[in-house]
Amino acid sequence: MSALLEIRHLKVQIAQQTICTDLNIAVQPGQCWAVLGVNGAGKTTLLHTLAGLRPAQSGEILIQQRPLTAYSRRELAQQLGMLFQEIQDPFPSTVLETTLMGRHPYTKSWQWETAEDYRIASEALTHVGMHHLTERQINTLSGGERQRLAVATLLTQTPRLFLLDEPTNHLDLQYQHLILKLFNQYAEAHGCAVVMILHDINLAATYCDQAVLLFRDKEPECGPSEELLTEPHLSELYSYQIRKIAGPDNRSIFVAL
């Protein structure tokens, strides 16, 4: 199986801060990666670099064996989709209109959305529990509903690689698990991969099999979650004492002391 996303010797800097100088990662289909780190460690910058929204200082990013820079924006949008942190809507629009924007990479300038586009969009809205809100104005939605709408738009885009910047933002407990489970199952069923920034270690441990830890002053570490999500690693990462305790069903729970 070939990697969906391969990062070779990646160097990323923002302002005067170096986020990584030699990052090497291969994201395989079906995998779910967590990106963890303190505020300002460069999690979003790294994700934006992977999405081709800002240039890397050096190194290579390959999407399905092909350099990221060789893709046109439109081709890239068919392979790679990103969920952003802040969601703005200066102009009115309805939930369904917004969701259908996810089909943009597949429709030409003078083309209208097809019945198939509608089917994909309404399926995505059903997945996030918003199918009853299709006609609603987006500025009447709550924060959590907006976040779920953004997830539905991303699912409508049907990329193979999902980059999620804090997907659990604004979501209540039920939807945090529902949305992450959704991405897990979707990745497995469609041979997709997910890379997501999370702040909750327990969510990362539950839903992500791989992890990247971004430290503020040293090179990132990456590898399988069970090797990286340990007391010493995490305590160092967050500069805060973190304990791993036994929970129900053979699961461990991380607690900040």
Binding site: L53, M82, D89, P92, M101, H104, T107, A121
Partner: protein
């Protein structure tokens, strides 16, 4: 799962579009009838009577028809430029004049009036002034590479303020005999407008041009990052939209001076009536902008006749209460 269909999504915009398509010719006919010499049905029927050589209608049509068509085209251009500017700056307060294009045109037009130019000399210099301002804002905002909406907006607003100062300066040193026509030009006036043909060609080209980008504009209006990640080359698109909107504004200003409010409220009136998709919003804005200006100009011609008013005064007088009423009525749509 409730199936979603095209019809539910497009019903409202299509109704609005059909309504406006009927309203446009109706407003033009109404405007042709308004004036010091009223036209009755017998006069209209006279068109079909080839034997009748007297034809008082001809004269009226030769005077009123070009002006009414100019009003329609200028209104359409302004509303289209308003839609584009609002998306470009991702700001609901944006109007065609916000980036100083009208200021540049006004300074050039006033200088031309001082020099005693009129007709094509006047419109030509106004157009050149608009283009000068457009390139000035573009190159300064583009300067260091980062071409964000905020940077563009600030550059445009500051340059517009600069033009404003120069306009005041010219007005204060101009001889009294020039002031009346200068003020009319500044407030927007259709009485000096040249033949509507050039404007019509520009409006059609602009409609096709912006129609081509309509689908991308829907996404650009939301967020630049989202647009980029959905496959839009945002940098290139924004430059194209800027140039398109500027040229549209320049031709509108050249035809009729800076007419207030049409470019700002027309897009919002349509958004308030449920037209969000730019594939509908763009043609609907052209029609509605045209209708508003045709009616406003008819009122400006006839209200205090024989005294003519600048049409910009009427658009603001009608536009302000209408807009406030609609916004009050549908608090959740904007």
């Amino acid at each position: 799962m409730r199936p979603v269909q095209h019809s539910t999504l497009y019903k409202r915009p299509i109704i609005v579009l059909i309504f406006l398509a009927c309203l446009a010719p109706a407003s033009i006919l109404l405007a042709l009838n308004m004036g010091s010499v009223p036209i009755n049905i017998a006069d209209w029927l006279q068109i079909f009577d080839a034997a009748d050589q007297s034809r008082p209608l001809d004269m009226i049509l030769q005077l009123r028809l070009p002006r009414t068509l100019s009003a329609f085209i200028t209104g359409g251009l302004l509303a289209l430029a308003g839609v584009l500017m609002q998306v470009l700056l991702r700001n609901p307060l944006a109007d065609p004049y916000i980036l100083g294009i009208s200021g540049g045109a006004a300074v050039a037009a006033l200088l031309a009036m001082l020099a005693g130019l009129s007709g094509y000399g006047l419109t030509g210099s106004a157009f050149l002034g608009a283009l000068l301002s457009m390139f000035l804002v573009f190159s300064i905002a583009h300067g260091q590479g980062a071409w964000t909406p905020t940077r563009l907006l600030l550059t445009g607003v500051v340059i517009a303020a600069g033009w404003g100062a120069i306009i005041s300066f010219i007005l204060s040193i101009s001889p009294a005999r020039n002031l009346h026509s200068m003020l009319f030009w500044l407030m927007g006036d259709l009485s000096y407008s040249p033949s509507p043909t050039a404007g019509a060609v520009i409006l059609l080209l602009a409609l096709v041009g912006s129609g081509y980008y309509a689908k991308s504009l829907n996404i650009l209006a939301r967020s630049e990052l989202t647009a980029e990640s959905l496959g839009i080359a945002v940098g290139h698109l924004r430059i194209k939209i800027y140039l398109l909107a500027s040229i549209i504004t320049a031709s509108a200003v050249t035809t009729a001076g800076s007419i207030a409010f049409v470019g700002l409220i027309t897009p919002h009136l349509l958004r308030l009536s449920g037209v969000h998709d730019h594939r509908f919003l763009i043609p609907a804005a052209v029609l509605l902008g045209g209708v508003i200006l045709v009616l406003a100009d008819a009122v400006a011609r006839t209200w205090l006749a024989p005294q003519q008013l600048p049409v910009g005064v009427i658009t603001a007088l009608i536009g302000v209460p209408l807009f406030l009423y609609l916004m009050h009525k549908s608090a959740h749509n904007l």
